[in-house]
Amino acid sequence: MDVFILIGGFTVLCLLGMPVAYALGLASIFAALWIGIPLEAVMLKTSDGMDNFSLLAIPFFILAGAIMAVGGMAERLVNLAKVFVGFIRGGMAIVNIIASTMFGCLSGSSVADTAAIGSVMIPEMIKAGYPRLFAVNVTISGSLQPLLVPPSHNMIIYSIAAGGTISIAHLFVGGIIPALLLGLSLIILVLIISHRKNYPKGEVIPLGQALRIAGDAIWGLVTIAIILGGILSGVFTPTESAAVAVVYAFLVTMFVYRDVKWNELPKLVARVVRTVGMVMIMIGFSIAFGYMMAIMRIPAMATDFFVSISNDKYTFLFYVNILLLLLGTFMDLAPMLLICTPIFLPVIAQFGIDPVHFGIIMILNLGIGLLTPPVGPTMVVGCAIGKVTMEAVSRSILVFYIPMLIVLALVTYVPALTLWLPAQLLKP
């Protein structure tokens, strides 16, 4: 009955259409009333959930990404990618995927990536002679890598949801090889499609111009160096590296690129505030929700359940992947991470699965859910920019799920893909 009040109450409130954050809050309050926990405790947990130094990295990374996005970074990265692969058949599609991966290292967000790269690439691809739907599909699919490369703030959310016990630096570095693998598999797919359908080639860019483009893009790429270098060397915590990245991004945008006017800054800050509002309150209430789950022993019950259906960790991971893929089509990434992480953490400890490995599996898996109907914010944004319907994209994108699912299976069953790089670069 306790479980029904908390989980059932939350599910019903969500399905009715209440904001997920407040559904978490109200379900926690009802559950606390039901089992007689003082409500101050729920309030305390909610506020303490947001009262966390690691969390500061989230607004910083969102702000840095936003500054870079309006500052013309996306266009410069697209130009840089064109130098390397633009002349191949289907080159513009590959440019799209590579630019997305690089831009992901600045924004760490799938939707922001589709918005920034899509606004540049979709019109360019259509002008170059690619079908509109193909351009939209490539853009949407290419926006999965940003979730897996630093500074993916979903990794910070995962770490917080796990009680801050998992190193954000390890998660950041652990996602790099899966992200590159994903990019590579998508490139192979678009190469095959482009050759079959005879999509256009671009021109070879002369050396002088190429050097100028590279020089222009290097300013933005230094942000990646600040974030990664700072964390890897141990000079900065992820939060500090995020703050320094904001200052650097601001200086480059305002004084080097000068694409943004000073009077546009308040609007930019307001947009970031709104984004932060969506994320942070959800984190606060989910910490209270997780606290109630722990009191009601729900994670322990989940462990017993999974151990009873299988004692093999690979079978368990298979079930979890199927479950998350299904839930991910209905729910966004951040709330799913916040709700599922405290439930699964004791289970994976029981099965001996590394929490960094599991985090990458979850983020990749739930990230695919952002690209699927009915609830897929990345897909919605991609459709809006490409001026196509969700129905048309839902059908034509199917083939793009194949490389994603293959990479998900590889990441799930080959832990070294995630764990090798952090072991080489970071102290345990």
Binding site: V20, L56, H153, A243, T275, T378
Partner: protein, 171 residues
């Protein structure tokens, strides 16, 4: 009367946006300042971290208020989209009453929490009460209660999110 109320709510929303934005800017300045004092001046200041965390709580709850008024919070919109007419209005009322309940709890129990902790001070800032870091809970709750009343009064239960100043998105 109704129009005046809506105008007042507009002003409150703008004020929340302004304070939250100011918090964000201050945080963005003081954390790099902390890094600067540590590496360049070789004397780490102890105040930027706790100060930033305190402002973060204010930023979080006030920005959440803005997101509610502008219909930006993440939600599963399948059922509202499937309904129309009277059933949709009923659903809207149920959702808003849920919001009202949550925020009344935040207001009432938030006030009790702040009152209980008011005479303890934050370790790093002896002049500031611990209550200040919990104060955004009842304030945020109270403002959303006002906004819920506005929605029920004007009947704009499922306003479309405005495209002006859309968030960058969290995903």
């Amino acid at each position: 009367m109704k129009a005046q109320y809506v105008r007042a709510m507009d002003a409150i929303n703008q004020a929340c946006l302004f304070v939250a934005g100011a918090c964000l800017i201050v945080i963005t300045i003081i954390i790099p300042w902390g890094v600067f004092t540590r590496f360049v001046l070789n004397s780490a200041s102890s105040w930027p971290e706790p100060m930033a965390v305190l402002l973060m709580v204010w930023l979080s709850l006030l920005s959440a208020v803005v997101c509610y008024r502008e219909n930006l919070h993440i939600g599963v919109g399948l059922l509202p989209a499937a309904l129309s007419g009277a059933p949709k209005v009923v659903l809207g009322w149920i959702i808003e009453l849920g919001m009202l309940a949550t925020n009344l709890f935040m207001l009432w129990w938030g006030v009790k929490l702040v009152a209980a902790l008011w005479y303890q001070s934050i370790a790093e800032f002896p002049l500031v009460s611990v209550g200040v870091s919990y104060l955004p809970l009842p304030i945020g709750g109270a403002i959303i209660v006002l906004f819920v009343i506005e929605r029920l009064w004007t009947g704009k239960l499922f306003a479309e999110p405005s495209l002006e100043g859309t968030p960058i998105s969290s995903e």
